[in-house]
């Protein structure tokens, strides 16, 4: 049986800097996989390689058994790989609803003369709007529906971005630090939503996160990277016991702690 996503030994270099050095992992359907590591370890580079914003020089990335290396980022998105960004990338002037509808964009079929003549497009728009409203209810952001997202609090913006990714009907969701900069309550909310997405929608996820508590609590399996190299993969408990991981996080001299 082939995996949903398979990353095989990818190497990404920027000039003399090797940002990713031989990372391999796989994600199965409905799985919640986490990538952790110290600052600058190459976590976001892994994400950017998955969505082909960066092109790894070596290795292979397979989606449902076929390689996605060399595809354009928008083509990757169309396959069903949606992502959020570490520093929120929403369409600031648009309302929450419009942002989510933007996520539906690739699922819309109408062409320009249909848009012009209205009727067919109207039905399509209604269907998509319904889908968007479901997501808004799901993420509990209905009070903000018609506000421009640039005006919303940070935690809510993060949720809107998650909603926009969900609107794309993805099969794999890449979440880049979904809880960064959030307070305890917002982090707990976010954890709840992530678990709900997995349970109710069955979408596989890859999570990059700094909040160790969050990752250990919700992830099925964890990959730890440091200086672009994988230093451990496994269940949360295994990773916690891994001496290399402890060294990377606490510093080599204090392994005994």
């Amino acid at each position: 049986m082939s995996h949903l996503l398979e990353v095989d030994n990818i190497v990404l270099r920027f000039g003399g800097v090797t940002a990713i050095d031989g990372v391999s992992f796989h994600v199965d359907e409905g799985e919640l996989f986490a990538v952790i590591g110290p600052n600058g370890a190459g976590k976001t580079s892994v994400f950017n390689s998955l969505s082909q914003v960066y092109r790894p020089q070596e290795g292979d990335i397979k989606w449902k058994g076929s390689s996605i290396m060399g595809l354009r980022p928008d083509a990757v998105a169309e396959l069903g790989i949606a992502r959020t960004f570490q520093n929120i990338a929403l369409f600031g002037q648009m309302t929450v609803i419009d942002n989510l509808l933007m996520g539906r964009h690739i699922r819309m079929k109408g062409n320009w003369w249909q848009n012009m003549l209205w009727k067919a497009s109207k039905a399509e728009e209604m269907a998509n709007r319904e889908k968007v409203e479901d997501i808004i209810d799901f993420l509990e952001i209905s009070p903000y529906r018609k506000m421009p997202v640039a005006l919303l609090p940070y935690g809510i913006q993060k949720r809107v971005e998650l909603g926009r990714a969900l609107a794309m009907d993805p099969e794999l969701l890449l979440l880049d630090e979904p809880a960064a900069g959030m307070n305890l309550e917002e982090t707990e909310d976010m954890a709840r939503f992530i678990l709900d997405i997995r349970e109710e929608l069955g979408i596989a996820m890859i999570l990059v996160e700094h909040d160790m508590g969050l990752v250990m609590d919700i992830a099925d399996r964890i990959l730890v990277v440091d200086f672009g190299k994988p230093i451990g993969t496994g269940l949360p408990e295994e990773v916690q016991q891994n001496p290399d991981v402890i060294a990377a996080y606490l510093g080599g001299d204090f392994v005994d702690l």
């Binding site: 969505s51 914003v53 354009r72 980022p73 928008d74 083509a75 998105a77 169309e78 949606a82 992502r83 960004f85 990338a89 929403l90 369409f91 600031g92 002037q93 648009m94 933007m102 996520g103 964009h105 690739i106 819309m108 109408g110 062409n111 320009w112 848009n115 012009m116 421009p148 640039a150 005006l151 919303l152 926009r164 990714a165 794309m168």
Partner: protein
């Protein structure tokens, strides 16, 4: 009163041409966040193609004769002229595509300022071609109605006025529906955030390409209608006046809001009304105001509006959380 109606008609006609040119700037700005400083040379090249096709019976850059061209010594009829107009617009769109591919696409992700300077470089790079094509200044573009006019109740209206209004209306409707289409939505998303748009499955490269193709075609359309009588240089496209004229559209788009389709049209009409009426009704003070004072009116109007509405009349305000 006759003078008033004639002045109004002239203002609306000029406003229509400003609007077409404004739409060209707006669409490129909207798609790529860059002001196209190459609009002058680009649009003039297109107008010259028109002249080569219709008057010289040739073909730009290629040693063919134009099989569709009117017979020697005759000017093209209306239908034939419009066919040629469409051909020229297609060539213009092609030029836009080539420019985008060669000079703009490699700059994706680079600072916008660098891209703007590249368009300025393009302006200078395209000009020599125009110079070659116009050995003598001023070339006819073979307008079928020439300098003919209608006379209604003593007032005289050149047919070119109506032509300009019709062209602007068609351009506006086309751009308006384009914006409401799926592709227009993609274009707006790219304008906000290229990376985020990419993550939504939008092909940013294609948005850039289409913005340039459409922008170039609109610029050429504006240039061709500007070159008609009775604006100077009547019925011809001229190397001296044309590039200067294009940049008189800048106050138009700034007034309307750089990224607004409706703004380009409204801005064009407002600016033209002020410009033409000032030219007509303040002419007894020319000794004080100086000759050609009406050409600075657009900039004055723009200044006043920007003091009240810094984003222009219809521009997108930047929303910031405080």
């Amino acid at each position: 009163m006759i003078i008033f109606w004639q002045t109004l008609a002239k203002a609306i006609a000029l406003g229509s041409i400003y609007a077409i040119m404004g739409l060209s700037f707006v669409i490129i700005f909207k798609g790529t966040q860059v002001l196209n400083f190459a609009a002058g040379a680009l649009s003039m090249a297109g107008a010259l193609f028109m002249s080569i096709l219709v008057v010289d019976r040739g073909f730009p850059f290629l040693p063919f004769t134009n099989p569709l061209a009117p017979a020697d010594g005759e000017t093209a009829g209306l239908a034939l002229w419009i066919v040629h107009l469409v051909i020229v617009l297609m060539i213009a769109a092609l030029m836009g595509l080539v420019i985008e591919r060669v000079a703009i696409r490699p700059m994706v992700g680079q600072p916008l300022f660098a891209m703007a300077v590249i368009t300025l470089g393009l302006e200078i790079a395209i000009r020599p071609f125009n110079l070659d094509a116009t050995a003598i200044s001023g070339r006819s573009i073979g307008v079928p109605w020439g300098t003919e006019t209608w006379e209604i109740g003593g007032a005289i209206f050149p047919k070119s006025y109506l032509a300009a209004v019709v062209a602007a209306a068609i351009a506006f409707v086309a751009v308006f529906f384009f914006y409401r289409s799926r592709f227009g939505v993609a274009m707006r998303a790219v304008a906000f955030d290229q990376e985020a748009a990419m993550a939504q499955g939008i092909n940013v490269g294609r948005v850039f390409a289409i913005a340039w193709a459409l922008g170039a075609a609109l610029a050429v359309l504006g240039a061709i209608f500007f070159a008609m009588s009775p604006w100077p240089p009547a019925g011809t496209v001229s190397l001296e006046i044309h590039p200067i004229w294009v940049f008189r559209v800048l106050p138009v788009i700034i007034l309307g809001g750089l990224d607004s389709v409706a703004g380009a049209v409204a801005g064009g009409l407002i600016i033209a009304i002020f410009e033409i009426f000032a030219g007509q009704y303040l002419s007894q003070w020319t000794s004080i105001l100086g000759p050609g004072y009406s050409t600075i009116v657009p900039y004055l109007v723009m200044l006043v509006v920007l003091l009240v509405r810094p984003y222009g009349l219809f521009g997108t305000e930047e929303i910031r959380r405080v």
